[in-house]
């Protein structure tokens, strides 16, 4: 009986040692992949940071208004943030490759899913960033045009345009990520519709007098004023 127990224990120990001996190279492989991944991720981060600095990406994101958002959230500059993001994505990618080297059943599928998700994540970030950039550009264009055309409430016009574009970009970004596709779409439609209806009501009812004054000034009084201001700049 003792002999059987000892034999089983020996066998179990041998199996365990065998298992550990078989696992150790994989663990070493994983560690090598992770360390190598860290080096690659760090190099990628440095290269990207240099490229972004040369391309004056911080200025671009300042134009887009993204820099202000980051500052408010006490986050680093967009160049730094994007570089760190790429570092972590790359390193997590290598860690997952390393984990898959371990051959743990079921993990392979999650790793594949992670890599499948990456392009969508980048596409969503791309859409969101350029949405912010577009929102900033068009709202400023509207502000300048409204001020120079002497339209009422230029800032309201500008911020309305900015909000619409940002909402649109965010909804596109979420759709790209596959998060609440229908919810986002419906929410966008509701927000947009409500905004338009609100504007129509505000201008039609609340701003009836303002609209009348504006139209009068444009089409009745302006003619007289222009007559007075007929000064050619060139």
């Amino acid at each position: 009986m003792w002999q059987t127990i000892i034999k089983e224990l020996t066998q179990a120990t041998l199996d365990m040692v065998h298992g550990i001996l078989q696992f150790l190279p994989r663990l070493a492989g994983m560690l090598i992949v992770v360390v190598f991944g860290w080096v690659i991720a760090y190099i990628l981060k440095s290269i990207l940071r240099t490229i972004l600095r040369l391309a004056r990406f911080d200025k671009l994101s300042e134009d887009a208004g993204a820099a202000q958002l980051l500052k408010r959230a006490a986050l680093p500059s967009s160049t730094e943030l994007l570089s760190r993001f790429v570092f972590w994505v790359a390193w997590i990618g290598f860690i997952l490759i390393g984990v898959s080297v371990l051959g743990i059943v079921g993990l392979q599928e999650h790793v594949a899913r992670f890599f499948g998700f990456l392009p969508r994540l980048f596409a969503a970030l791309f859409v969101f960033f350029f949405g912010l950039l577009g929102a900033s550009f068009f709202s400023r264009a509207a502000l300048l045009a409204a001020v120079n055309a002497d339209l009422p409430s230029p800032r309201l016009i500008a911020s309305t345009i900015r909000t619409i574009i940002i909402v649109f970009a965010v909804s596109m970004g979420f759709e790209e990520l596959g998060i609440g596709e229908h919810t986002t779409l419906v929410a966008f439609a509701i927000v947009f519709g409500a905004l338009m209806l609100g504007l129509a009501l505000a201008f039609g009812l609340g701003g009836r007098d303002l609209a009348r004054h504006f139209l009068e000034r444009r089409f009745v009084h302006e003619r007289r004023e222009e007559k007075e201001d007929e000064l050619s700049p060139l």
């Binding site: 200025k59 134009d63 550009f137 400023r140 264009a141 502000l143 300048l144 045009a145 409204a146 001020v147 120079n148 055309a149 002497d150 230029p154 800032r155 004023e225 222009e226 007559k227 007075e228 201001d229 007929e230 000064l231 050619s232 700049p233 060139l234």
Partner: protein
């Protein structure tokens, strides 16, 4: 763009039929039916009277008029004029017309005219604006004679203006162009001007045409290019210039065409304008300025309102363009009631130079930078109107001169900002 590609096949055929010429006069048009017939008649009369021995052609470059401007140019027949004034050309006087592609643009029209001038090997050329309602045949002589006789390469006009006419030129374009490029050209954005074939070829070779500036403001860049290229400049007095009514909404367009291109030119000609020296007058045929001061019903109140509103509403935009000190001074000025408000020369010059520097550094879309200057210019125009309300023409001239000197004195500050030292 190669010259052949901007000239259509039909137009090329017409030009080949004309053959080589000595003088080419370009008339850019776009819906100018009201005035263009009279302008072409005056040009013809001027050519027949003052240049009867020269081979000449009038080239009309049209931007797609829908009011029959092109037909009017073609119909302005030489024979009528000959019968009427009893003058005959010793050489054939041609008149050709073309519609250039790309939509109405005085710069595209100028490009077409220059390409035609080079093809026909014209030694002297002129461009006459189609909207003048009081052009005289003598203008043609005043513009072309310095080129044909005295060998000047560019002759810009000097008009007898009302003291409140051409405010953008007097408050920004003339003083800033003079301070930077060191030549006292009264009308750096010429409407009627003459140039040599040599300058036409040089100007055609510039890389301006493939860029936005070449689409919107080639006229002012022709002046700058002539200065930068070391060409001989002169200005010629033409007398009063009456033109069709100006619409207030055209100010942004005028700013883009003139101030936008002036700012843009600084990048192209760094080695030319970054020289510290005193500006020099250029030869002038006739008086170098003449102002009239007839009473004019002007209401500066709206200019002040738009300035105050612009400074308040555009604060986030102006923050990216102007220094803190300049912006706060502007904001302080905007708090004054209309009668006490003054936009000082010093502050205006600082504003203009900081805008030029922001344009260079592209702190935002460059077109937005130019647009953001519009309400501030309105403030300066308001001050100009108020300061010169009862001023004689000599006093107005002395005020303009004072502004020019301020622009020249403060030029080093632009250099510092340009290099990033400030």
């Amino acid at each position: 763009m190669p010259e052949e590609t901007i000239l259509t096949d039909d137009f090329l055929r017409e030009l080949i039929n004309v053959g080589e010429v000595d003088i080419l006069i370009g008339v850019p048009t776009y819906n100018d039916a009201k005035t263009v017939g009279q302008v072409v008649q005056a040009i013809r009369a001027g050519l027949l009277k003052y240049f009867p021995r020269q081979r000449a052609v009038i080239v009309n470059a049209d931007g797609g008029s829908r009011d029959g401007s092109q037909e009017l140019v073609r119909a302005a027949s030489i024979s009528d004029l000959q019968h009427a004034s009893n003058v005959y050309a010793l050489r054939t006087l041609h008149c050709v017309s073309t519609e250039y592609s790309g939509g109405p643009s005085s710069s595209l029209a100028l490009h077409t005219i220059l390409a035609a001038a080079e093809l026909l090997q014209a030694s002297s050329c002129a461009v006459v604006a189609p909207d003048s309602t009081n052009i005289e045949p003598g203008w043609i002589e005043s513009l072309l004679r310095p080129v044909t006789r005295d060998g000047f390469d560019l002759v810009t006009p000097v008009y007898r203006r009302h003291k409140f006419d051409g405010l953008l030129i007097r408050n920004l374009l003339y003083p800033m162009n003079r301070a930077l490029y060191l030549r006292r050209v009264r009308e750096p954005y010429p409407l009627d001007f003459a140039f040599s074939g040599r300058l036409a070829t040089h100007f055609l070779g510039q890389d301006l045409w493939s860029q936005e500036a070449g689409r919107i403001g080639a006229e002012i860049y022709l002046t700058i290019s002539a200065i930068a290229g070391g060409f001989r400049l002169a200005q010629s007095f033409l007398g009063p210039r009456a033109h069709v009514e100006y619409a207030a909404s055209d100010l942004v367009v005028a700013m883009r065409r003139s101030v936008g291109v002036l700012f843009w030119s600084l990048e192209q000609n760094g080695s030319v304008w970054q020289v510290q020296a005193e500006s020099q007058p250029i030869p002038t045929i006739g008086p170098d300025h003449e102002l009239s001061a007839e009473p004019l019903r002007v209401n500066p109140k709206r200019l002040h309102e738009m300035f105050v509103r612009g400074v308040a509403e555009l604060e986030p935009v102006l923050k990216s363009i102007l220094s803190e000190a300049t912006l706060s001074e502007l904001q302080r000025a905007a708090t004054f009631p209309e009668e006490d408000f003054r936009y000082s020369d010093e502050l205006w010059v600082r504003t203009a130079y900081e805008f030029a520097s922001a344009y260079h550094k592209a702190v935002m879309s460059r077109d937005h930078i130019v647009q953001a200057l519009v309400p501030l210019y309105r403030g300066k125009a308001h001050t100009f109107l108020l300061e010169n309300r009862d001023a004689s023409s000599e006093e107005v001239e002395s005020n303009v001169e004072r502004l020019c000197v301020t622009f020249e004195k403060r030029k080093p500050s632009l250099l510092e900002m340009w290099d990033g030292r400030k």
